[in-house]
């Protein structure tokens, strides 16, 4: 069985797994990293949103063989370490705005928000409503208003 290695939340990991298994199952079922959630399996609900080399992606739709040994995968569990703190500013903003209800989609929401804030920062502009409208992460509880407020606040602290 092929061995796949990559950096996961700052640590190099190796896992024996057939090439075509999607990364979400490698993370959750084989490596025990359960922050990214399953909601659809085809990159629609975005509940599994994580980062690859700092950019948002959906591991439910990426075969593990597409991940190179040099790729850095970050899940919600590894997010605070990217800023060397206990909580990333976006997570703190989430607490300040009391965003979560059931919480199932929130790891994906936060990872999508951080990637969006980085993109806006790289482009040298603030997050606009149009940026927020592009986020497609589903929240069945309907916490969207607080999510949008928290993203603006969190991005300002990043």
């Amino acid at each position: 069985m092929p061995t796949h290695s990559f950096t996961l939340n700052g640590k190099q990991v190796s896992v024996d797994c057939p090439d075509d298994v999607r990364l979400l199952w490698v993370l959750r079922d084989l490596l025990g990293v359960t922050g990214p959630k399953y909601g659809c399996g085809l990159e629609v609900c975005k509940a599994c949103t994580s980062h690859i080399n700092g950019k948002a992606f959906n591991p439910c739709s990426v075969p593990v063989s597409d991940i190179a040994p040099t790729d850095e995968i970050t899940t919600i569990e590894g997010l605070p370490a990217t800023v060397g703190r206990d909580l990333h500013p976006m997570q703190q903003a989430w607490l300040d705005h009391d965003v979560a209800q059931c919480g199932y989609c929130q790891p994906g929401q936060i990872m999508a928000a951080v990637a969006l804030a980085r993109r806006a920062r790289a482009a040298g502009r603030d997050i606009s409503d149009a940026d927020l409208d592009e986020l497609r992460n589903i929240c069945r509880c309907g916490t969207y208003f607080r999510i949008r407020e928290a993203i603006k606040a969190g991005a300002a602290e990043m």
């Binding site: 990214p36 979560a100 059931c102 509880c141």
Partner: protein
Amino acid sequence: MQSERGRSGIRRREFLGYVLAAPTLVVAAKLGKDALTPKAAGAAVPSLPEPSDLMDLGDVLTLAAAPTSGLITIQVNPDGTASFALPRAEVGQGITTAIAMLIAEELDLPLGEIDMSLADARPELVFNQLTGGSNTIRSMYTPVRTAAALARQRLLGAAAAQWGVPVDSLTTSGGVVRSASGMTATYGSLATAAASSHTTLASVRLTDAPDFTVVGTPHNRIDALAAVTGRKKFAMDLDVPGAMPTMVCRPPTINGTVQSVSNLSAVEAMPGITDVAIVSTGVAVRGATFGQCIDAVRALAVTWGPGTEDGKSDDTVLHELEKAEPPMAVPAVPILTRTLDAKFTFAFASNSPLETNCAIADVRPGSAEIWSCLKSPIVAQQTIAAKLELPQDKVQVHVVQGGGSFGRHLFFDAALEAAEISQQMAKPVKLMWHRTDDFRHGRTHPMCTSRVRASYRLGNVLTFEQRHTSVATDFGHGLGEILTAISAQLPVGGLGFSEAVFELTQNVPYNFGVTTQLLNEVDTGFHTGSMRNIYSPNVRAAQELVVDELARRWARTRTTSGGRSSRTTAREPCSTRRPRSATGAGRCRPGRPRASRSTRSTRASRRAWSRSTAAPRRSAGKSPTPIPGHASPRRSSWSTSACRSTREASRRR
């Protein structure tokens, strides 16, 4: 009394509770009968009260929960924390936080020192472990506060005995008892001394609402940090030894059955797959990852037998509904009055939270352990025990927090299925439904029609009839235990139970003279459930659209401004709006939380209003604009006495 808590002007009401025999302090509530006796309703308005005006579903659930409220206990631990295992399911509604706040209020302990968990299935609670009907706070508000207040009283008593001072001279704050002379003792240090070797009844005074310092103040959810760090554990995040990913290949039709599998051993040999088994709902596969389970499910070559709804379509179900519509009482062509007939058709609506159906099961010879988000865990335990042919007490059922519910987790489909699969494979399983399983085989808000006939004269509605005909709503969970669950499943009891729920939840909040609302149900073969307020979204939408049409005919304006109780109908034709404010006006009984219901109906009618302003008023034969988030009325028809009955209008289209 003023010194009860060292605050000035504090008022407390007296309640009874138990101090239970235990090594550390454990307390429970006893509900006095005044807390249970509904006060009489005063009726002085033209429409006679409907059943739900006098007693609604929440009252029934609260009354059903009351006799066992004494079995719900709070424990004060030697480390100074308090523990409470909530006999309800947290699915995002915030009840763990709200109940912790109630405990913090009466126990005078910081919120962070209260350890909340969800109780396993406890059959001795009978009706008191059902999460539904928006009833958790309503049914637990007094019992939880009573138990917490009693715990504080016992801690004060223990300190007073140790220090040889009067209880009245002591105060509490932040989990510490203080004497007038400056002595202090933590709750933890007093927990053992405050315990009792035998169960005793004690009376305790509760804080009056105006004196609350925790309840009514903003607090973040107690699980907010876990949610934003990914540490919050849902069922599929639990690490149960040996419980490997499991999925089910399901039939192409509802309740279809497996006739044969032609490649079972080939699928069993696929990468990562450990087991393949034919079960009552399809073919189950277990493997190293869910991804490999999905591949195996797709590879299975199954010959399927018939299901319960083969060949049905929206059109055939609608035809079934129309044949079963109960007749109206008032003739369509009266002499002195005019009538308005309206009919709305609501489509099936999926009821999936973001977290799909899932459960972990570890069935051994002679025992079983289940983990799932369950709003009726006692019925789940009883049904699973029967299915596994095990004694009920050999099936341990753990309630896990859910990723949303919206009524979905009243049913335990995944838990029952996981138990069956685990028994058959003789291995622990972590069963997850695919998103497509949830859409195709999950539960729906049932398809229904709502017909309304209103007769009116000179700006007054004289009669208002509503006939709601629906694909059967499954109340197979009963009131949370097996007896009512079985009665809800009986061929006759099914409609009887549904009628009871309908009567206890539905009303017409207007003075519309003689008012009747009837329910009829057809077709029990679909997977349905109580999605978001059961009948209300459809029944109330239909009513409000009729009110819009009446206003249009009378050239009256409805505005959306105004006070709380009249927001939707500030300029109603004549005085049709029955007063329903939280202040106890009209038929509202004092002392019960009426505001929430009033708010709900206000919201529902606002939606209807915004829809009807956006859509053509006379929409016969056209598709009206859907109401966001709700089953959409697929078609509506208007007719008046001068024209024809609804049925004729339908034919005309």
